[in-house]
């Protein structure tokens, strides 16, 4: 519970932060809210010699909620939850954020940290896949945009280069039907299974559908197949069953204290069916 020794830096610009990352190479890590990184340091599973704190960088804050939505990396999960513009433009954000841990964690944990962390247990990555978000990365070579759906490679391994900082997430105003459904053992727990669903409808038929799952593989899972089978349907029993089947082909859960694989698959199916039903009820 006592971390190893480290030096602490608090730059006031992204450029300065990138400079520190360049200077210290793989000995440096950025810290945002610290609610994933610091527990790992206390367990000595991470021991960066240099911590680069992003709290002093004003440019990483701010929320834009127009047709295109943009959330700065250092916006906290609580700020995202409380933002009136976001509640109107993309209510799925608040529904998901409310299910992250507890208020203490959300008051410090950031949106950028949650998506950059690369932990399949985090809730926001699947949400970003569902939203087809883009991540803005800034590094020594400048700024680039990466699609969330191409970002997650392996546990804690992402398309972000070591010297890059994730500065914002952005996505188009999503479809009206939404749901983030999560089963967990208790407050403060990661998902046993969670599903993010967005559905657009016209004339009682699905015209767009997007499905992503949390903590059911070693990376967050975007299930294109599940979305496709819903297209054109009325989200009736058969369509939902087909979507669940399709999703089962994309997940790959492992056994842990939350339960064995068979259980997780069963729950994933139940959770997705519920999420689809709720999203459909809101279109």
């Amino acid at each position: 519970m006592i971390p190893a020794r480290f030096d602490y830096h608090r730059p006031d610009s992204v450029a300065a932060a990138v400079g520190l990352l360049q200077q210290h190479g793989d000995e440096a890590r950025v810290v945002a809210g610290g609610h994933s990184l610091i527990p790992m340091m206390k367990l000595r599973m991470a021991a960066p010699a240099h911590l680069v704190d992003l709290q002093g960088i004003a440019a990483l804050r701010g929320i834009e909620a127009g047709d295109r939505i943009r959330i700065g990396a250092m916006v906290t999960q609580s700020e995202m939850l409380a933002h009136a513009g976001l509640a109107e433009a993309a209510p799925i954000l608040a529904e998901a954020a409310r299910q992250i841990a507890d208020p203490q964690v959300r008051n410090l944990g950031t949106v950028g940290g949650n998506v950059a962390n690369g932990d399949p247990g985090n809730d926001l990555p699947a949400l970003m896949l569902c939203l087809d978000a883009t991540f803005t990365l800034e590094g020594p070579e400048g700024v680039r945009e990466v699609a969330a759906r191409g970002f997650y490679e392996a546990p804690y391994v992402t398309a972000r280069e070591e010297e890059e900082i994730l500065t914002a997430v952005g996505f188009d105003r999503p479809a009206r039907g939404f749901a983030y459904e999560k089963q967990k053992r208790k407050i403060g727990d990661y998902a046993t299974a969670a599903a993010a669903v967005l559905i657009g409808a016209e004339g009682g038929r699905v015209v767009s559908a997007s499905v992503a799952m949390t903590n059911l593989a070693d990376v967050p899972v975007f299930s294109a197949a599940a979305g496709e089978v819903l297209l054109g349907s009325d989200c009736g029993e058969d369509a939902v069953a087909a979507a669940v089947d399709a999703m089962q082909g994309d997940i790959d859960p492992v056994e842990d204290n939350r339960g064995p694989v068979e259980f997780k698959r069963h729950v994933a199916g139940v959770i997705l069916a519920r999420a689809i039903a709720r999203a459909w009820s809101r279109v």
Partner: protein, 805 residues
């Protein structure tokens, strides 16, 4: 004649027995101003930290501390070799076994203490721990107590090789600790075999952990000038710790002062003596500097005392109309690597033989086999009297299972078999003398309060709706009627390391009519400073607000056996009342002198002695106290003080009726507690608000244990639940609303009739929650499934019953 306040008003002013007085402790706790062990900071203080074994069973081939010692700020690295010359590399346990302080040649559980690093700074100590190189050779691991008894099972305790006689009788296998039996085996078997209906089942009460919010720790400080050792620590029994520290260290007992400051919850976890305490004492003696050791959460969960881990095989017989004919129990008790159970010496399985519960069972037998495995030692009473929660869970499950066999309603089966009110004092088949009870009244009140008949109707309709495919949720009604046995205990058969389990109170009344009372117990959240003042207020007529209660400092408090097993009110509470009565007896003599009447002409009236028949002639306790200090009264010593050491004549037997109504989602395994009704009878009620608080807390721990909390190991002996991510501690979110109720059946032998309540809700709550889960599936053929009932296990039950289609 001036207007006398009426005696009821004066009584209310005392805030004595029965008053829902607010807890006086809370002003500091709710402001973050408590003073815990980790708040103690002394000049020059050093910090200790452990190198712990990553293996569950391994030989320690070598320990190299060179790199650690080279780190600036590291003062020492202690190993078993350093402790051996002092005879401190092993220490006795409370259960008559011995335990390694630091690994002596091998390690026997994951997290075992291997070396103790002492440094000038907490961070340096942690860094140095990483630098100590230990060379291990792993050995075969046994985590299953049944496999541990196989003929070819690995020998865990090589130190006991060839020892065939343990502290509690013969050992029949190298991993066997003791067999302990009670009752009439032949009689019980014959009665059951001849019964019309027999139910048989194995009931596992899984391993869990008390997990107090504050972990264990201490600060040891040796003053080399005056030779005095002071030890602040998280101790539930500070006086016993002083005696043990003296016996182990050879320091005279008067030169040791043990202080338990504020304690952030104990629940049994802080009864034992841990290697951290011993190493800190050695380190302060060696360095002459104060040494602090405070374990972290993972260490607490992995290495300090666990609870339960009982495999209970039961047989119960009955007539076909439901009269129980006999009970037979055999327990395989997994004690881990050392037998460090915290029980009174003569009771290696605690009071498990209370397992006949609330029922009039004519003949019974129980036997417990203690077994060594590669798990952490412990086996403490986690918010219950010694092994009583295991016993209550066992009998309350057996009753449910018997009800299924009989095709009978489980509430009715209980009613048929309850010990009747006119049978008290009642001697059970396993030898306990129950002091008082009125189970039928409590039971009927409980059933009525929840509209039991209505619930059963709703449940039957739900089953039908489920079968028609209209719902995926089942309804469970969890019943429990428990009988606790608390207040250990009579010195004639209860002791801890030879110390009789009496307790004590010492009172001083100050000249201006306020008072201080010191007790041998120590509060860890129970609110002693509030309730003991109330007992004394009613006994002495001094308002509770003018009485200071102090505990936990062995230099000032009288000797007592501490706080666990719900013993504080039954034993120290009794001592308090008795000491108060001594004060009153002396006060009566003083009042008689002041009023110039004979002692016998006076009568006690709330807060004063008044002349019989002339209530306007009186002396208040405050006036009497003043006189005790400023007048020469012939034949009476000055001052107003009293001490009482109370040896209880019997245990007390609180009881209660709990009903839990639970919704279960068969697809996800999630549950929702719709209603929880808890009726407690703890005898005389001292402070209803504190009782309610204790019941809420205990029920929440029971919820945790029944529904998810466990210490789980994999086959390699790795702890799988070493953090609060996996070890379930409920927050407000998971905690349901509780509906509390009561009946009041005083204990006939306790001076004020009180029985103790802090642990009842854990004892009764676990079976209530668990029975609700079982009951939900009763219509589909479930008889027994083991706790904890977390999502995936409930889901598995539903799957195995074919409920997933």
């Amino acid at each position: 004649m001036k207007d006398l306040p009426d005696s009821e008003e004066r009584r209310a002013n005392l805030k004595g027995l029965g008053c829902a007085r607010k807890r006086v402790e809370d002003a500091r706790f709710t402001q973050g101003k408590g003073n815990y062990v980790d708040d103690i900071k002394l000049p020059g203080m050093l910090f200790g930290d452990f190198v712990r074994s990553p293996y569950a069973h391994a030989r320690v081939k070598s320990i190299n501390a060179e790199a650690a010692l080279a780190l600036p700020g590291v003062i020492a690295v202690l190993t078993a070799k350093d402790l051996e010359p002092l005879g401190l590399h092993w220490m006795p346990t409370l259960a008559g076994d011995k335990q390694m302080v630091l690994a002596d040649g091998k390690v026997l559980f994951q997290g075992q203490e291997v070396a103790f690093v002492v440094a000038t700074d907490r961070y340096i100590a942690a860094d140095a721990v990483e630098l100590v190189e230990v060379d291990y050779e792993d050995l075969p691991v046994v985590v299953d107590p049944f496999k541990a008894q196989a003929p070819d099972a690995p020998v865990l305790r090589e130190d006991l090789e060839g020892v065939t006689e343990g502290a509690h009788g013969p050992r029949r296998h190298h991993n066997h600790i003791f067999t302990w039996e009670q009752g009439d085996a032949a009689g019980a078997n014959a009665a059951i075999d001849g019964s019309e209906v027999i139910a048989e089942e194995t009931i596992y009460y899984h391993r869990t952990h008390p997990c107090p919010l504050e972990t264990c720790g201490c600060v040891a400080s040796m003053d080399k000038i005056n030779g005095k050792l002071t030890l602040w620590g998280t101790f539930q029994a500070p006086h016993v710790v002083r005696t043990v520290a003296s016996l182990l260290s050879g320091i005279d007992e008067h030169n040791i002062r043990v202080v338990s400051p504020d304690i952030g919850g104990g629940f049994g976890n802080k009864v034992g003596v841990y290697p951290g305490y011993v190493c800190s004492i050695v380190a302060t003696i060696v360095t002459g500097k104060p040494v602090k050791w405070v374990e972290d959460r993972m260490e607490n969960l992995m290495a300090t005392a666990f609870a339960r881990d009982y495999w209970m095989k039961g047989r119960i017989g009955a007539t076909k109309d439901g009269r129980i004919t006999g009970l037979h129990a055999h327990v395989t008790a997994d004690h881990g690597a050392f037998d460090a159970c915290a029980d009174p010496t003569k009771f290696p399985a605690g009071f498990f033989h209370i397992c006949t519960g609330s029922y009039d069972i004519p003949v019974a037998y129980c036997a417990v086999d203690g077994v060594y495995t590669n798990k952490a030692p412990g086996g403490v009473a986690y918010r219950c009297s010694f092994r009583v929660t295991e016993a209550a869970y066992f009998i309350e499950r057996m009753i449910e299972i018997l009800a299924i066999k009989l095709g009978m309603d489980a509430a009715e089966l209980r009613r048929i078999n309850f010990i009747r009110a006119d049978q008290f004092p009642y001697t059970s088949a396993l030898g306990w003398e129950y002091d008082s009870g009125d189970y039928h009244t409590a039971w009927d009140k409980a059933l009525k309060a929840v509209d039991y008949e209505g619930l059963r109707r709703e449940q039957a309709e739900r089953v039908e709706a489920f079968r028609r495919g209209e719902t995926r949720k089942l309804l469970g009604i969890g019943l429990t009627h428990f009988t606790e046995i608390v207040g250990a205990g009579p010195v004639k058969n209860c002791d801890i390391l030879g110390m009789g389990m009496f307790d004590s109170c010492e009172i001083r009344i100050h000249p201006t009519g306020s008072a201080i009372a010191r007790l041998g117990t120590i509060s860890q959240g129970q609110g002693h400073a509030t309730t003991f003042a109330q007992i004394l207020a009613s006994e002495t007529g001094i308002p509770a607000d003018k009485i200071t209660i102090e505990e936990g400092d062995t230099d000032t408090a009288p000797y007592g056996l501490g706080t666990y097993g719900s013993r504080s009110t039954p034993v120290a509470g009794a001592a308090t009342a008795m000491a108060g009565r001594k004060i009153r007896a002396k006060a009566q003599m003083i009042a008689a002198y002041l009023l110039e009447v004979h002692d016998d002409d006076l009568e006690w009236d709330v807060d004063r002695f008044a002349v019989k028949g002339a209530p306007e002639r009186f002396k208040t306790m405050a006036e009497i106290a003043y006189a005790a200090y400023n007048q020469a009264i012939p034949g009476v010593e000055p001052g107003l003080e009293a001490v009482s050491y109370y040896d209880p004549p019997n245990m007390t037997y609180p009881f209660g009726a709990y009903i839990c109504v639970m919704e279960i989602d068969v697809d996800t395994g999630e549950h929702e507690i719709r209603q929880f009704y808890a009726l407690d009878d703890c005898g005389t009620r001292i402070n209803p608000m504190i009782i309610e608080g204790q019941v809420h807390g205990g029920l929440t721990e029971a919820l945790a244990i029944a529904m998810g909390q466990e210490i789980a190991y994999d086959d390699m002996g790795n702890v799988r639940t070493g953090t609060l991510m996996d070890f379930f501690l409920p927050t407000a979110w998971e905690t349901p609303n509780y509906q509390t109720d009561w009946t009041e059946t005083p204990s006939p032998h306790h001076p004020i009739g009180a029985k103790g309540v802090g642990e009842s809700p854990n004892v009764g709550g676990v079976p209530a929650f668990s029975n609700a889960v079982h009951d939900a599936f009763r219509a589909f053929g479930l008889t027994q499934t083991h706790m904890p009932h977390d999502h995936w296990r409930i889901w598995r039950t539903a799957r195995d019953l074919g409920l997933h289609g």
